[in-house]
């Protein structure tokens, strides 16, 4: 038996409404943090990533943004993901920013479809992570995230990037 899942392209409502105060809040984070970075190039990349979080928030802040009853992305999730990016070592490439159907913000390092690592942020100081590292190796779990990035997260990011 074969199964099929139909993949669709949103033709309407791609850009949802967003609260200006939330946007201002996110932009405020960027402006506030800009002074803390010693290397302008490093900061610029991080700033671009945080801007990507804002873009994702703007597009996914309404319920049912995926047509499958997805929850809106929360500002708390965005702020936590932005905080994570600010703490990410500059030697690690910046990830792709995605929205998850439960309203979390996801950071994804994708080498190919068998080598990828994803961290989900809900704004509750707990990260959920999932990774495929080749054909047989997998990892998933949760970690607290407050002031510093857990070591296991850094290890897993480096592990997936080693497959480049």
């Amino acid at each position: 038996m074969s199964t099929v899942a139909f993949t669709q392209h949103s033709s309407i409502g791609l850009f949802g409404h967003s609260g200006n105060s939330s946007m201002d809040e996110m932009r405020g984070i960027i402006d506030k943090e800009s002074d803390r970075f010693a290397l302008p190039v490093t900061f610029q990349k991080t700033k671009d990533s945080i801007n990507s979080i804002i873009d994702v928030f703007r597009k996914r802040c309404e319920p049912n943004w995926d047509g499958y009853d997805a929850e809106p992305v929360s500002i708390e999730a965005c702020k936590e993901a932005a905080k994570f990016l600010q703490k990410l070592p500059s030697t690690i490439p910046l990830p792709e920013i995605i929205a998850e159907p439960d309203g979390d913000i996801g950071l994804e390092w994708h080498v190919n479809n068998r080598n990828l690592f994803v961290i989900g942020f809900a704004g509750k100081e707990i990260l959920s992570y999932s990774g495929l590292f080749g054909k047989g190796s997998k990892a998933s779990g949760t970690e607290y995230f407050t002031d510093s990035i857990p070591h296991v997260i850094i290890e897993n990011i480096r592990r997936v990037l080693a497959h480049h």
Binding site: M1, V4, A5, T7, H9, S11, N113, S128, L132
Partner: protein
């Protein structure tokens, strides 16, 4: 769903497309024995009107791939509809995501 469900860099399916909804179900259709035209007809008749979105493609998965991840199918009562849900996903979000990543790596994307 939107254009992000197909990865632009390599045309592969993004795992997010397979994540179950709040009820723990991922909607699929059985296409065994159908012609290509019949498969696309299902999309036209049963998916597009409900989703109100423009169809750009589909992702095919073998049922065995789903069963091998300890998931199951719940077919609709009306078997003629060919609709089913993938069910019995783990409770933990990170495990659901991992299985969706694994399934997506096995899926074949077919653009319309």
């Amino acid at each position: 769903m939107d254009e992000d469900d197909i990865r632009p860099s390599d045309g592969s399916l993004r795992w997010r497309a397979l994540i179950p909804n709040r009820e723990g179900k991922t909607s699929v259709f059985r296409i065994s024995g159908l012609s290509e035209q019949q498969v696309w007809s299902i999309a036209e008749e049963k998916v597009i009107p409900i989703r109100n979105k423009r169809l750009v493609g589909r992702a095919d998965l073998l049922a065995a791939v789903v069963y091998n991840r300890n998931l199951n199918f719940s077919p609709d009562v009306d078997a003629a509809s060919r609709h089913a849900d993938i069910i019995e996903w783990p409770d933990e979000k990170e495990k659901r995501r991992l299985i969706a990543m694994d399934l997506a790596s096995e899926a074949k994307v077919i653009r319309r």
